[in-house]
């Protein structure tokens, strides 16, 4: 079946600088940004949420302006998500029974996490958070939850687009949501990546990122009548397989994502009107992007970053920035990159400092994040949408072979159905026994968090360098894992560090569940897609399985490492499978 057209419908956003893309565009055009709010209520809020760091610029959503009620039983994060979803529903008259909610969040309700392993009724579980939001907004469809660090929003849009294009669903609302809490701010401060002035992407004087928060939702639909005049024409996710926090030295993996997305859209670099990049304003990110964008042939193409407007909004950033990029395409004008003055990147870029009118046809939106992940999507003005059949879904799931499997649970290690090791059921002891059994010394193993140790060890038996199915073509393999507890096990460790008065960067980096994917990618040399899902039940797991198989049947990858990687306290359960397309 040929791919269907994925139209971008309405968007709904709540940010520090406006509650609609039109509003944000107009205010940004007149030089405003979300950091200049001076109301005392917001200052007090900053001090309350991140007392040690309140002198740093942060772009906070003004609760009273957007209608978040402190008195409500519903968490602030969930209220914000409901506000943007309801706005889309009200403006689109969609059939909720034929609409999937795809959530992108790094940390959800982590603001209420304490120093103990959360009990099952804790609001900090991401999948239940999504289910509550879906229920209260009247959706009975099974939600999808993606937690893929700072590319979560772009990842979720790509997953939703593929579900639409492949016929899996008719409509999807992608919801990006993250709020600023001491949990997150303290971690980025420990990484010394936060600027003490509003961020200056691509500038020679840039000093790091500025943090922000946002709730954003976009409708993706097969229904042309609901279209805003923009289509999504391609998308790709890649992994650096280099380092879990530092970006690639070469920029090649991001360039690969951009090139593949353009190819899927039937375009090349000359067709691209502008690039809305990640542009966090850290030294390393912006340098890496400058290399990637040049490799992709877009060094002369106008590029902007919106981070100086509403900050780095983490899991929401991809969604809000795609909504803004669509607005820029529709207006035929791109926003300037505020505070950019002097170019200061490793490779030259055509950074738009002021608003520019463009011949608005196609745009590349890209992002990169911890875990070594990169993502790119191509948006088109609908008049320039070209039909492509690159990813005909010509195979069916009967063409998929499971060639290997690995289970680690209850003190047993089972590979391809054979018990390799039976030992102590205590996780820390047992995973160490497995490490010694495998006998492939790697000092990095001891630095990993427990979730990563679990996924890493299992993967060594399936696609590790000494395994029967070692990865030979790095870009031909994807890793799709899911669990229920996300990174809560390490989140608690970060809270304990904070209680002792000091955030540890080595702990904080693991408070993202997709870092395990980065560790596997590094150790096994995987440069294809790495996406982490969070699931609360079998229905949600089945949806992730269908997605993993679609990556094979659509010929995007030859191999997919797929399965569950669960760890919370003494509850651990790894069940992963290597799936390949039959020759």
């Amino acid at each position: 079946m040929a791919q269907r057209v994925g139209y971008l419908g309405k968007s709904a956003v709540r940010t520090a600088m406006g509650s609609s893309v039109e509003d944000i565009f107009d205010r940004a055009s007149s030089g405003e940004n979300g950091f200049c709010a001076t109301e005392s209520s917001l200052k007090a809020e900053k001090i309350r949420r991140a007392p040690d760091f309140a002198t740093y610029p942060m772009a906070l959503i003004n609760d009273s302006t957007v209608g978040v009620k402190a008195s409500s039983d519903i968490s602030r994060l969930e209220q914000l998500a409901e506000i943007v979803i309801n706005e889309i529903v009200a403006g689109s008259n969609i059939n909720k029974d034929a609409c999937t909610l795809v959530f992108a969040t790094t940390k959800g309700n982590v603001g209420v996490l304490g120093c103990d392993i959360p009990t099952p009724d804790s609001p900090t579980f991401l999948a239940e958070t999504a289910e509550r939001i879906a229920h209260r907004t009247g959706f009975s469809t099974t939600p999808i939850i993606i937690s893929n660090a700072c590319i979560s929003g772009v990842s979720a849009t790509i997953v939703a687009y593929r579900m639409i294009a492949s016929g899996e669903c008719e409509n999807a609302i992608v919801v990006g949501i993250d709020e600023l809490t001491n949990f997150i701010v303290s971690g980025f401060m420990a990484f010394k990546s936060v600027s003490d002035e509003v961020c200056r992407p691509y500038d020679a004087q840039r000093k790091g990122l500025s943090m922000g928060e946002a709730a954003a939702a976009i409708l993706l639909t097969t229904d042309e009548k609901l279209s805003s005049g923009i289509t999504i024409d391609g998308g790709c996710i890649t992994n650096d397989a280099n380092h879990i926090s530092g970006p690639s030295r070469t920029g090649e993996p991001l360039a690969n994502a951009i090139n593949t997305a353009m190819r899927e859209a039937g375009l090349d670099a000359r067709d691209i009107s502008f690039v809305n990049a990640h542009g966090t304003a850290t030294a390393y990110n912006d340098d890496m992007e400058s290399k990637a964008i040049n490799i992709a042939g877009l060094g002369q193409t106008p590029i902007n970053s919106l981070k100086p407007l509403f900050g780095h909004t983490l899991g929401a950033s991809g969604v809000i920035e795609i909504a803004m990029a669509a607005e820029e395409l529709l207006r035929g004008e791109i926003l300037g990159t505020q505070r950019f003055e002097t170019s200061g990147t490793a490779m030259p870029l055509n950074v738009a400092a002021e608003n520019r009118t463009i011949d608005a046809r196609h745009c590349v939106k890209c992002a990169s994040g911890f875990g070594g992940c990169n993502a790119a999507v191509v948006l088109s003005a609908a008049a320039y949408h070209s039909v492509n059949n690159n990813y005909d879904n010509t195979n069916n799931i009967n063409d998929i072979d499971e060639v290997a499997s690995c289970q680690i649970a209850n003190g047993k290690l089972v590979v391809d159905g054979e018990e390799i090791l039976s030992g102590n059921t205590d996780f820390d002891t047992f995973i160490r026994e497995i490490y010694h059994q495998k006998n492939e010394p790697n000092l990095k193993f001891f630095k990993m968090d427990r979730l990563s140790k679990l996924g890493y060890m299992g993967a060594q038996y399936l696609i590790g360098k000494s395994s029967a199915h070692a990865v030979c073509e790095p870009t031909d393999t994807a890793i799709i894992l899911y669990n229920h507890a996300s990174s809560l096990d390490t989140d608690v460790q970060h809270m304990r560090d904070l209680a002792k008065g000091e955030a540890s960067p080595a702990t904080f980096v693991y408070t993202l569940p997709n870092i395990v994917l980065g560790e596997i990618a590094i150790s096994c040399g995987v440069r294809g897609e790495t996406t982490f899902f969070v699931c609360a039940n079998a229905r949600e797991e089945a949806q992730v399985a269908a997605y993993a198989k679609y990556l094979l049947t659509s010929h995007r990858y030859r191999n997919v490492l797929f399965g569950k990687c669960e760890l919370l306290g003494e509850n651990y359960n790894l069940n992963i499978h290597l799936l390949t397309l039959k020759h």
Partner: protein, 85 residues
């Protein structure tokens, strides 16, 4: 100075979870990053925390301290010169 170096090695081993490594395995003039111990940018941030916590030295920009982070020798010299506790 020798005592400081030994203490520093143990602090690094503990903070960076360098299991299976003892202070005797770390040579005073061997590179800490890249080759040798193979430390990375996250480890550098953890070492900055050791400096703050144990020696009262604030390092605002990791890049500024690059030279001092080369080996145990350079790190110990840096501490001896700048320590406030």
């Amino acid at each position: 100075m020798e005592q400081l170096k030994e203490q520093l090695k143990q602090q690094i081993i503990d903070a960076l979870s360098l299991e299976d490594i003892t202070p005797a395995d770390i040579e005073d003039d061997a590179p800490l990053f890249g080759e040798g111990l193979g430390l990375d940018s996250i480890d550098a941030l953890e070492i900055i925390l050791i400096l703050e916590r144990n020696y009262g030295i604030k390092v605002e920009k990791p890049a500024d301290a690059k030279e001092s982070f080369k080996s145990i020798n350079t790190l110990a010299e840096f501490i001896a010169k700048n320590r406030t506790k």
